[in-house]
Symmetry: C2
């Protein structure tokens, strides 16, 4: 099976490396100026130009049987165009929902699935009205831009509101979210195959720093055991409503006895990288199995597993001091806060794993 | 780290796919006419020509930091030549021992490690004398040629001896082995890193058909529990005596209370492919970690795991009927008895695994 991937980052790289084992071949669509180092050598790289559309683009990509994505910010008109020639999965409607925080929240709420309280705004006045309604503190987020903490502002008091309004006219689509006192952040990687089979990895709990994921541990330790089934139920309702094929990731705020959906990602997810190391089928392989209609691979780890991201610095094999650590190098040049690789760790003893992840963060960031 | 691999087969392919995760880059040396489909795209492929030797070959391979092999039948003079420019590992002396069944058996016996009784012969007369000494039945094997059952003859009676002598003058190096009534065949994948660390996967038990490996299950069920430690002891004595760096595989005949060494392979081994699926570090990654001096990855599976080879036919994703089956496709065109891929399976329940491997063999070969 020949698969075209929209995007040339580490997620595309890791999918391709798994896909090679399945006998799949790949091509990659790069936007003009997009760095290609992650996927160089793993398949043809095609640069998107205005002249390339429809059949020409399909042919340039090697006439793939399936087009899929490694990121949500993709031109959906282009995807709909490609859908005349081959399967495009996840479907462009699903991707479009996930491209806009407002559409996404409305979609989720319409299913009866709770989120933090929110208002959609597009001006200074509507921002003020939203704060009036929700109460401080709030988080303001650009609806269509920003990831890893960019395009987001926390407002604790009126001084911070004034400072934001001095910098930003708030024209455009923004979402204002009421602050929720969550116990932890967790995420689920769910999938549905083209044959309708669904599967779910256990919830992972995530630590962020400055809005960027630093580490994950799975399965998550939950304040209430019912939340695990709740996460699957929510994920199932979303993927079925979206008629989704492939891997979909959902970030949650974990409240004492409830999950609030924070964000959807129509793709494999950084918080699912631990699935490469838990003796199961990884999220990367399962995304490919989903879209190829192959029976989904095992998602229930028999061990605890975790991941530590490496941001902004050269990778160092000296971090692999223990036999249960594995390195994934993205072939990227380090820049501040850039994700250049990750370490996966696993153990039958959760506390040992927690300690080891702590030690790895100390070794990498020297700050704990 | 840039690594040059001698050979372009599936073992090179699987090492490279694991090495990409570690940030390694690869080049591959192809003999004239050698099929390259397994490694196409995974690094530069250099064709060996008479003009390419010494520094020129080193440069053509991209000035690797390490040269390693995916097969034992390699020109050791060429390896010694390359050793002036970079690390060559496993070392050429070790590879040379493994290239010749006579040298190999003598080496093993000199360590006090038992093998089947044998005689080295190079003529019809010496063959007859060997049979006289060992008694029928015997196995006659070419010392330097043949694998997967080729270049081997079992002789049960004088008629079969006469038939062989009609076909073959027995000029050249042959080994005659007395037949041993082994209970099963098993193998160990051992490794030693450039820093001296040693590690061992558990023994796998192997089923052959017509001399070709069909399936493996690990850990092996052994007639005596001490054989597991015995296998490690033998492996350790061999890798230390050889001053070996990398993965070394040893095939054994399992007797009731003893192991006899059947064959050494200075490389990753087909009977170790299950290590890709047992939630540990695979033999492919561990070979690379060994030669790069990285702490060796975990070798103790917490589950039972097995492998079924796919020979001589197109791969079919319909074999992945269960979520605990993974496919490894070598990108080869099927030809009779050609290894084109394998399936890995794992389970916490050994009997379930045994049944599943049986079912997979039925699905693939339809003969059980």
């Amino acid at each position: 099976m020949h698969i075209a991937m929209i995007g040339c980052g580490q997620l595309a790289r890791m999918m391709a490396l798994e896909g090679w084992h399945l006998g799949m071949t790949f091509s990659f669509l790069a936007e003009s100026g997009e760095n290609r180092s992650c996927v160089e050598g793993l398949g043809d790289i095609v640069e998107l130009t205005p002249a390339l559309s429809g059949r020409k683009l399909f042919e340039a990509l090697g006439e793939p049987e399936v087009v899929t994505v490694e990121r949500e910010h993709v031109d959906v008109a282009m995807l709909r165009d490609l859908a005349s020639f081959c399967q495009v999965t996840p479907n462009p409607d699903a991707i479009e929902i996930c491209q806009h925080r407002g559409r996404e929240k409305n979609f989720v709420n319409a299913l009866g699935v709770p989120t933090a309280p929110y208002r959609l705004i597009n001006s200074a006045e509507s921002l003020k009205a939203a704060i009036e309604a929700l109460g401080l503190p709030v988080i303001v987020k650009s609806c269509e831009e920003g990831y890893d903490g960019r395009g987001q502002w926390k407002i604790d008091n009126t001084q911070e509101l004034d400072a934001l309004l001095l910098e930003n006219t708030m024209e455009g689509d923004f979402i204002v979210e009421g602050f929720v006192a969550f116990e932890k952040e967790a995420s689920i990687v769910a999938m549905r195959s083209s044959k309708g089979e669904c599967a779910f990895y256990p919830l992972a709990e995530n630590e962020h720093r400055n809005g960027i994921l630093i580490s994950s541990i799975a399965p998550a330790e939950l304040p209430s055991p019912s939340l695990s089934a709740e996460a699957r139920k929510i994920a199932q309702s979303i993927i079925e409503k979206m008629d989704y094929v492939g891997v979909l990731s959902i970030e949650f705020f974990v409240m004492h006895d409830q999950l609030l959906v924070n964000e959807l990602a129509p793709r494999v997810h950084n918080s699912g990288h631990w699935t490469q190391a838990a003796g199961i089928c990884s999220q990367f392989e399962n995304h490919l199995r989903s879209i190829a209609g192959i029976t989904l691979g095992a998602t229930e780890p028999t061990t605890h597993a975790g991941m530590v991201n490496v941001l902004g610095q050269k990778l160092n094999t000296n971090w692999l001091v223990d036999s249960n650590v594995q390195l994934h190098d993205y072939n990227k040049t380090p820049r501040p806060n850039r994700k250049v690789g990750h370490l996966n760790v696993w153990s039958s003893d959760r506390q040992k794993l927690v300690n080891q992840i702590h030690e790895l963060k100390c070794a990498i960031y020297g700050d704990e």
